[in-house]
Amino acid sequence: MPTLYQALNSWGVHGWPADVLAVVVPCLIVVVVVLTIVGFSTYVERKVAADIQRRIGPNQCNVGPFFGEFARVAVRNGASPNAGFSGRAMAAVCKALLPLLNAADRILSRLAPGVLIFMADGLKLILKEDIIPDATDKPLFRAAPYVVLASAVGALAVLPYSDAWYVADFNIGVFYIAAITSLEVLGILMAGWASNNKWALLGGMRSAAQIVSYEVPVGLALATGILICGTMSMQGMTYDQLGLRPGSTWYSDGWLWQWNIFHPAMFVLAPVYFLAALAECNRTPFDIPEAESELVSGYHIEYSGMRFAIFFMAEYTMMCVTSAIAVTLFLGGWSTGIGLILLMMWIRWTLPRFRVDQMMTLCWKKLIPVGVACFLAVCVWLIVRMVCANRIGEVALERTTFWLRACFAGVVLGWLVWYFRRPLTPAEQAQRELIARPSVPSGAPL
């Protein structure tokens, strides 16, 4: 991170220590922050699932009495005869703040009941026995989770978090992401093969087939994005969509219609990318590698404890990464893509799983042709644009494309508004009412 490098220099750290620190510190920060978000998103996923299935979801591990208990213990300790000065001071502060702390407890418990569940899960998984079955290929078996996690975490390095916050800004950022996220398949194959278990092997092979196939539509979407933005750097793509270019005008300056998704080709490619990303993350409806009903639980069937937790984290990190890429590519960048993660969860708990052949048909016969068509269309458009620029001049062309984009964005947004406010058919009305009915309280007599 260049900002950090300058800061280090100004603090009198020069030479190789500054080089090392400027790389290592941001990496650590990003990994820690993202893995915390990952843990939290497992909690969110369980709550989303509960809501969709009309249940309550985890509500036992609350932040609940934490602050209040802390204060009460401090007060009690301060009151004991052998309490020192600091103990008494702490007690006095806690006593004064007690109502506030209690209120914080209540609010946090109300806002996010059961939020500590992911910490309980994590701690428990660390405590579990780490079984490495005798018949496994031991070095591969041990290494596989780390390979999978490394490929997911590696992609975090080039994601743009804001204009100042990023770990690295390569001029081949998109290429790097495409390369490193597909390393995941290596780890999954290693896990499947090393487990020496037929279900694990089948899961691994299916996963390999799936990820390799869906790399193609993802690659096409990325390539089209590169063509439109004219850069492979993730930061550059963001700048391009925010219109922050030298000589930018009011109409090309960070407005909604500068987002790539309002480019007609990218508008078509956005769902293509999203579906392919779902498949790359092995999420339902593409979780064929982990199908419980056929394969018990796929490539991580033999993994217990910490190693399973690492697979689990890798899956959620991958979700964060693909959402972040989607946001950078289509939605203007510098956003965490939480909305897209929620969309993935929503899809997961709504749709059943595809069959293998359906999944392959979707990829090779639908997504890839659409992707290729969009890619070629953009190529042709760029040539047309170049010719036009020679004829009418860069400024006039900029203005024309702005109006074209703005019209397209207007149509899309107008359609969205109409869609959500359209008059409902009687069937839809009935369905709405059915959904709005209060659910049966849990545990009520039948």
Partner: protein, 163 residues
């Protein structure tokens, strides 16, 4: 221990000593094995479904024994099945617990007297932590059993020698 003192007044605690913290993490994420052999299994499924929702207590089903903490033996176990149950139990990583659900798993149930094939109680093969009577036990009974197990886990200690 100063501020790190054990307080367990309600069901939620964070100010605690390390042992209790570990126990809390274990009892709040009891992942159970998706395993059922007979009619009790239907009640087990119902317990996981929307109305009774054991996910409230952090319990989710895992399909592989490697990732499960809790085996709920739900249903009739025949002599032929018993060795399989034992193998599944052995495949689970420590620490692990077993709930025997329903009369069949407890003692052979309705088949106790004349059956040639039914095992008279799964505790002949694997150690059982909690027995739940009933034919079948209602989901509430299963949840009560889970609570008993949680109490038991809460008394466990991994860091200190007892006494």
């Amino acid at each position: 221990m100063g501020v790190l003192q054990h307080f367990f007044e309600h069901d939620n605690v964070v100010c605690t000593n390390v042992d209790t913290l570990l126990n809390l993490s274990k009892e709040n994420s009891l992942w159970y094995l998706l395993f059922a052999t007979a009619c009790c299994g239907i009640e087990l499924m119902q317990t996981g479904a929307s109305r009774f929702d054991v996910d409230r207590f952090g319990m989710i089903p895992r399909s592989t024994p490697r990732q499960a903490d809790l085996m709920i033996v739900a249903g009739t176990i025949t002599h032929k099945m018993a060795s399989r149950v034992k193998r599944l139990y052995e495949q689970m990583p420590e620490p692990k617990w077993v709930i025997s659900m329903g009369s069949c798993a407890n003692a052979g149930g309705p088949f106790c007297k004349y059956s040639y094939s039914v095992l008279r109680g799964i505790d002949k093969y694997i150690p059982v932590d909690v027995y739940i009577p009933g034919c079948p036990p209602r989901p509430e009974a299963l949840i009560e059993g889970v609570f008993k197990l949680r109490e038991k886990i809460h008394r466990e200690t991994v860091l200190r020698k007892e006494g």
